[in-house]
C-alpha cells in the first residue's frame, strides 16, 4: 500500500466495483442436470471513504453475495473489485487481497451463531489478533479492554461466555471483534435484523458513533428500508441479482425512480394508522436460475413496455448522483 493512497480525499472512492458477476453451479436433485445460478448480475458501484452504502433487497436479491465478494470471502466470476487501489479480482487478485485484508472486516447477522460458545468473550474478540500474530500478551489484553470500552461493554465481560449475553450485547461483542485489527471498511450483513426494536436503535447508533470516531466506511446490507435510512449515506437497491437503482439517501427515499423501488417503499407498513397503503404488488421474485432476457422486474412491473421483456436496461445516470436501470428513463 503506497503512502499516496493513504491521503484519500473524502470524495475519492475507496471501493470500486465494476460489472461484477457471481455465478454458482447448482444441480437440481440427485444427479440432475447442472445449472447456473447468477446471484450477482453485472453490478457496479463505488463507496467513498467514511461513508455508508446501504444495500437493500429482498431474499435472493444477491445483496449478501455482494457483501461476501467485496471482502474476498468468495471469488468473483467476472468483473472488477478494487479496494484501496488494489484490484482483488483477476490473475493477481490473491496477492492484492493479502495486502488489504487487514483493512476489511465483516459483522454477521446472527450474534448467536457467529460467536464460538466455548470461547470466552475476550478470546472471541482477540481471535483476529491471534490470527494476525505478533502481539504481546499485555498488548492483546489492553486491546481487548479498549475494544470492550469502545462498544460500550464493561471490561469484566472478557472473562464470561457468549451465552450469558442478550442478542444486543452479543452483537456489540461481534462488532468489537470486527474492530480488533483497526479495519477501514466493514461489511455489516443484516446486523440488526435479529434484534428487538429497542435493541436495534442502540446498535445503529453505536455503528454511527464508531464511523464518526474511527472514520470507518460501511457496506450495510439489510432488507429493512427504514433501518437503512437511519444509517446510510447512499442507497443501492438490488432485485434478482441486478442493481436497479442507486442514489444519495434522501434522493432515493423522497424521489425513487425505479418502479421496483417505488413498490418496495410503498409496501412497508408504517406506524401510522391514518396511512392507506395502495394494493400490494402482485407476483413474486423471479427465479435467478436460467433467467429470462430483459428486465428482471418486467413480469411484476406496472409500467412494463415491450422493450422491457427483450432488453436488459443498462444503468443510466439521471443527475444528483442518481443511477437507474429502467427503460422509462
Amino acid at each position: 500500500m503506497s503512502a499516496a493512497l493513504k491521503t484519500d480525499t473524502a470524495d475519492a472512492p475507496i471501493i470500486q466495483v465494476r460489472d461484477l458477476v457471481k455465478e454458482f453451479n447448482v444441480t437440481r436433485g440427485r444427479g440432475g442436470p447442472p445449472a447456473i445460478l447468477r446471484a450477482v448480475n453485472h453490478i457496479s458501484f463505488d463507496i467513498r471513504s467514511g461513508t455508508t452504502l446501504g444495500l437493500v433487497g429482498e431474499s435472493g436479491s444477491g445483496k449478501s453475495t455482494t457483501g461476501r465478494l467485496l471482502v474476498g470471502l468468495i471469488p468473483a466470476t467476472s468483473g472488477e473489485i478494487s479496494l484501496f487501489g488494489e484490484t482483488i479480482t483477476g490473475a493477481d487478485g490473491e496477492a492484492a487481497l493479502a495486502k488489504v485484508r487487514s483493512k476489511l472486516q465483516f459483522v454477521f447477522q446472527d450474534p448467536h451463531g457467529s460467536l464460538n460458545p466455548r470461547m470466552r468473550v475476550g478470546d472471541c474478540i482477540a481471535e483476529p489478533i491471534d490470527i494476525a500474530g505478533g502481539w504481546s500478551r499485555k498488548d492483546r489484553a489492553d486491546r481487548v479492554s479498549e475494544l470492550l470500552e469502545t462498544v460500550g461493554l464493561p471490561r469484566a465481560v472478557a472473562e464470561r461466555f457468549p451465552h450469558e449475553f442478550s442478542g444486543g450485547q452479543r452483537q456489540r461483542i461481534g462488532i468489537a471483534r470486527a474492530l480488533a485489527l483497526r479495519p477501514d471498511f466493514v461489511v455489516c450483513d443484516e446486523p440488526v435484523s435479529a434484534l428487538d426494536v429497542s435493541m436495534q436503535a442502540q446498535i445503529i447508533n453505536l455503528l454511527l458513533d464508531l464511523q464518526e470516531r474511527l472514520g470507518l466506511s460501511y457496506l450495510f446490507i439489510a432488507h429493512d428500508l427504514a433501518v437503512v435510512r437511519s444509517i446510510a449515506t447512499d442507497v443501492a437497491v438490488m432485485y434478482a441479482g441486478a442493481l436497479v437503482e442507486q442514489a444519495p439517501k434522501t434522493v432515493l427515499y423522497s424521489a425513487p425512480k425505479h418502479p421496483y423501488t417505488q413498490a418496495l417503499l410503498d409496501a412497508v407498513p408504517r406506524p401510522d394508522p391514518d396511512r392507506v397503503r395502495s394494493a400490494a404488488l402482485g407476483g413474486e421474485v423471479p427465479s435467478i436460475l436460467n433467467p429470462l432476457p430483459g428486465c428482471a422486474f418486467a413480469a411484476r412491473c406496472p409500467h412494463v413496455m415491450a422493450v422491457c421483456r427483450q432488453d436488459r436496461p443498462a444503468p443510466r445516470p439521471t443527475g444528483e448522483g442518481h443511477v437507474v436501470a429502467c427503460h422509462l428513463y
Binding site: 428487538d196 429497542s198 432488507h223 429493512d224 435510512r229 437511519s230 413498490a263 408504517r270 394508522p273
Partner: protein, 331 residues
C-alpha cells in the same frame, strides 16, 4: 363491545426452566368482539405468543404449570374443557397460523392432504369432497392455478405461497376466530403486503375475528383496530389503534414508537430505550419497566402497578402517567 366472542380473564402461565419457575404470562386479560381485529404487540419475551398458544391450549404440558385464570368462549371455559371438546374447537372454531410456514406444513403430504385433513376431522367429509373444497380454498387465498397446485408438495411453493396454504388450512372450517402469530415476519416486504391484504379481505368476507400478534408497529397500524402492548409478561397498555399511535400513555409504548427507524424522514440519531429486555427469570420488584424507564419514580420500583383506566376504551399500567393525564383533562 356487546358480548365479546372470546374473553380472557386473568390468565397466568408459568414454565419450568433450569433456573426455576418463570412467569411467561402474568394475569393477562383481553376481549375480542365479533369481526374485530385485535393486535398484540411486544418484543421477545413479552408473553404475546404464549398468550395466544394458551388460548388454544397448545403449550408443552410437561414444562408448564396448568395456566390459571379463565378463557370464556361460547359459554365455556377453554382452560377446563375436556380434551375431546377442545379438539373440536381447535382448528374448527378457533384456528391459528404461525410465523414459519415451512415448519408448520408437513413436507411429505400434498397440499390437498393437508387442507383436507382439517375438513375430514371437523366436518367428516370424504376424500373427493375434501379435495374439491381444497381447490376452492386455494382459490379463496388467491393461489393461481389451484387445481394443479393442490397436488403439489410444500417444497415446490415459495414462502408467500406456503403462508397462503397455511391460511387456507386455517379457514377451511370457517373459524369464528383466527389467531395469527407473526404471520408475515418471515416474508419479504412485497409478499408481506400481499398477505396482509389477503387477511384483511378474508376477515371481511368471512366475518372472522382476528388476533394478530406481531413485533412490528407498522403491521399493527395497518391491520388492528384495537391494540394491546405487552412487556415482560404483562399488558402495559390497551387502546384503540389511532389513539395509541397519536398519544401513547405508557412510557414503554412511547419509547418503542420513538425508537423505530423512520422511513419517511431523516433523523440524525435514533432515540433509544436504555438497557436490555429483562431475563424472563429475573425478579423485578414494582413495575417491570422501571429499570429502563426514563420517567421512573420512587414508587415505581416498590409497588407493582395496576392496569388503570386511561380514558374511553383505554387502560395503562403506569399510575404516574395516568394521574398526570387525569390532571390535564380536568385543567
Amino acid at each position: 363491545m356487546a358480548v365479546p366472542l372470546l374473553e380472557v380473564d386473568d390468565l397466568t402461565v408459568r414454565f419450568r426452566t433450569d433456573a426455576g419457575w418463570m412467569t411467561a404470562v402474568d394475569r393477562v386479560s383481553l376481549a375480542v368482539g365479533e369481526g374485530e381485529a385485535l393486535g398484540i404487540v411486544g418484543e421477545s419475551g413479552s408473553g404475546k405468543s404464549v398468550t395466544a398458544l394458551s388460548i388454544l391450549r397448545l403449550h408443552a404440558a410437561a414444562t408448564t404449570r396448568m395456566p390459571t385464570g379463565k378463557i370464556h368462549y361460547g359459554g365455556k371455559d377453554l382452560l377446563t374443557l375436556p380434551t375431546r371438546e377442545m379438539r373440536q374447537i381447535r382448528g374448527g372454531e378457533i384456528a391459528m397460523i404461525f410465523q414459519d410456514p415451512m415448519s408448520s406444513l408437513n413436507p411429505v403430504l400434498t397440499i390437498a392432504d393437508q387442507i383436507g385433513e382439517s375438513l375430514r376431522l371437523h366436518q367428516g367429509v370424504d376424500q373427493a369432497t375434501a379435495r374439491k373444497r381444497a381447490i376452492e380454498l386455494l382459490d379463496l387465498v388467491r393461489i393461481p392455478d389451484a387445481a394443479r397446485r393442490v397436488d403439489e408438495y410444500p417444497h415446490r411453493l415459495s414462502g408467500g405461497m406456503r403462508q397462503r396454504v397455511m391460511i387456507a388450512i386455517a379457514i377451511a372450517c370457517r373459524p369464528k376466530l383466527l389467531i395469527a402469530d407473526e404471520p408475515t415476519t418471515a416474508l419479504d416486504v412485497t409478499i408481506q403486503a400481499q398477505i396482509l391484504d389477503l387477511l384483511r379481505d378474508l376477515q371481511r368476507e368471512l366475518g372472522m375475528s382476528v388476533i394478530l400478534i406481531t413485533h412490528d408497529m407498522g403491521v399493527i397500524a395497518e391491520f388492528a383496530r384495537r391494540v394491546m402492548v405487552m412487556y415482560a409478561g404483562r399488558v402495559v397498555e390497551t387502546a384503540p389503534v389511532g389513539q395509541m399511535f397519536r398519544r401513547p400513555v405508557h412510557p414503554y409504548t412511547e419509547g418503542l414508537l420513538t425508537a423505530i427507524p423512520k422511513l419517511d424522514v431523516d433523523v440524525r440519531r435514533l432515540p433509544t430505550i436504555a438497557g436490555s429486555i429483562p431475563d424472563p427469570t429475573a425478579v423485578i420488584p414494582g413495575c417491570r419497566y422501571s429499570p429502563r424507564c426514563p420517567q421512573v419514580q420512587e414508587s415505581c420500583r416498590r409497588d407493582s402497578p395496576a392496569l388503570l383506566p386511561a380514558g374511553p376504551e383505554r387502560e395503562a399500567r403506569c399510575p404516574p402517567r395516568v394521574a398526570a393525564m387525569a390532571k390535564e383533562t380536568v385543567a
